[in-house]
Symmetry: C2
Subunit: 415 residues, 2 copies
Amino acid sequence: MTTGVETFFRSRWVSRPDGVRELEPSHLPAGFRAAAVATGSKPSGRLDVGVLVCDHDEATSTALFTTNAVAGAPVQVSRRAQLDRLRAVVVNAGNANVGTGARGIEVAEAMTAKVAGTIQVEPARVGVASTGVIAVQLERERILEGIAGALAGLSPDGGGDFSEAILTSDRGPKRACVEVGLSAGPVVVSVQCKGAGMISPAFATMLCFVETDAVVDAATLNRMVRGATARSFDRITVDGQLSTSDSLFAFASGASGCEVAPKGGDERLFAAALGALFRQLAVEIVADGEGTTRVARLAVHGPAASVEPVARAVGDSPLVKCALHGADPNWGRILQAAGQAGGDAALDLSIEGIPVVRRGTDLPLGDDERRQLDESMRASEVELALSIPGGDADAELFFCDLSEEYVRFNSEYTT
Amino acid sequence: MTTGVETFFRSRWVSRPDGVRELEPSHLPAGFRAAAVATGSKPSGRLDVGVLVCDHDEATSTALFTTNAVAGAPVQVSRRAQLDRLRAVVVNAGNANVGTGARGIEVAEAMTAKVAGTIQVEPARVGVASTGVIAVQLERERILEGIAGALAGLSPDGGGDFSEAILTSDRGPKRACVEVGLSAGPVVVSVQCKGAGMISPAFATMLCFVETDAVVDAATLNRMVRGATARSFDRITVDGQLSTSDSLFAFASGASGCEVAPKGGDERLFAAALGALFRQLAVEIVADGEGTTRVARLAVHGPAASVEPVARAVGDSPLVKCALHGADPNWGRILQAAGQAGGDAALDLSIEGIPVVRRGTDLPLGDDERRQLDESMRASEVELALSIPGGDADAELFFCDLSEEYVRFNSEYTT
């Protein structure tokens, strides 16, 4: 429970907010216990079923889910839960329980019932999330046995195992824990998330879990989570594919006794911490995109109706993503993708602050600029700015390159 | 000028129309001459500038262009031409002359003026098309010298060279020539097209040239070209990327003296021949998608508002395309992509006639079906049918797999 020398806020696009102290990333705030077991869903034999429980009955919560019309059984079951007063969430990785019909719903309900029975709350106070292969039935008995095992092992030190159990094609865990100094005293916020492919969240990320020991009413928690998500997980893409399973669960145990009073300085402090945590994790999801070697941030300025479709068209263009992979400052492909989304012909484009296109026309570059550009393109984080005449709206999008490794991974394995 | 043993209409999704006889694919109808030269735009040193001329002053024509907001200089110049009475078109490959500002427009105009001066027509009766790298200035003098060379070499036998000069990353020429028996006698139709990457045409293909010696008024020619395009080039995708340069030019010399009278049996015959030619060429563009090994046809049935976005979402999903590359009948990814486009959860899906999902739920497959499915997925052409409840509209889309070769090609080379 110490501040590492290396900060969690590693991306150039995220800074550690004022008044925030970094804790051991797998630490859980007071009032929470977690555990995970391996049931054999992952070929690696790693942890694949996790349970997170809040021990305070007055705990508040909130949740966000995918907008995909083909939502998984866990999303359907969780949507019907008491989302503002959840006490627990159960997760499995390796099988998403999507396209599994009535039987899939029954299994997801059995998963929440198993947890609810053990911690003695109504099943509607337990959320469920699954991630992995789509359109394959989940093995009911194996999963329920795994949940029983996890429930037996619940511990305040279980955050690390829990953050590993939720992973699929991720290179490693994505987690953080910080202390925020509120007016009434310090509170702790921890986050665990996962995601590497099928990433283009809308209102949620693949899977994300947030815990705090602060006292927060559910509406305030929801407002802060939505605000932080809008500037993080909603602004990323790996492959433009909206998952059927995106789910975010946030819990406030209240164990610290310190309140985040609505709409005051404490909400601002807490929201800033949450915003920075989500933003760093969102960049990490992109940086961990299947086969990814490089992350770009695209800032689009222009008419309100254009900035979002243009940002998505550029960030999801396989040609732009291949150029990024090859460290090629190929602005022709950026112009083409922007034009496809109706972006106007008179665009301005700069790469790392170097103007390369003005009013739709290629600008001549000096040798120094060309060298600087080539060097910038080889960095792990690249900054692009596109300006469309006729408006003052802004949109940003974090996206990654498209590599042969992405194709190999997604051709050779059923995910 | 003989019918080969192997038919041009090779795809399972195209049949040779009745009354159509296949001719040597590079043959041009009466009244046309063409030529091509190499000016060094292609690293291979192959032909890269082509000119096609119609020698009959009463010739009619029509043209279709990209809807990309960032249209190339040649598209802008051609749009202002007398599209219903063009006498020639000039093409270069290797540089698309896009994002090149006023200087690019001036070069495109100089290209048409050069041709016009030699064949003694107004510049507005010459079209221009360019394909290749975007946002690099075209070398004016080299191109104009090349055009002069091509003009000096114009020949009725130049169709083969012309069809090669328009290629970029294509594996080989895409061309055909057929004879259609009209009521007044036989007429000849020839087509040359190109395209392999940045393929998601809307109202045109990358580049396509059509010549006939039939007598056809420009309005009828336009109607037939639009109809054939709507069922061919508008229904394909390689990478979902709408080009800045898509252009289609069709010419009718009238040299045969045989008329395609509007709205009668002859229009039906001629339109059917054009339809089959375009459809086969469209499938060939997909089959020649950069790095492609396999083509799928997706037929979507359902509500009018859903069928097109669902077809595009599935056909442009990198996850679906990677699964197709791996011959993996991964219907989970098809459901996910359909759901992202709002496709309703209660979808039916069949692959090669084998139902795999009914009302959104995975169907159990017998060993024989599973074997049959695995075999079908390894074929060069795969058929998918998706049905969404609540409507009777139809959309089809031809798409290809996404391979490591596509990524390698588009990362390593500036195109």
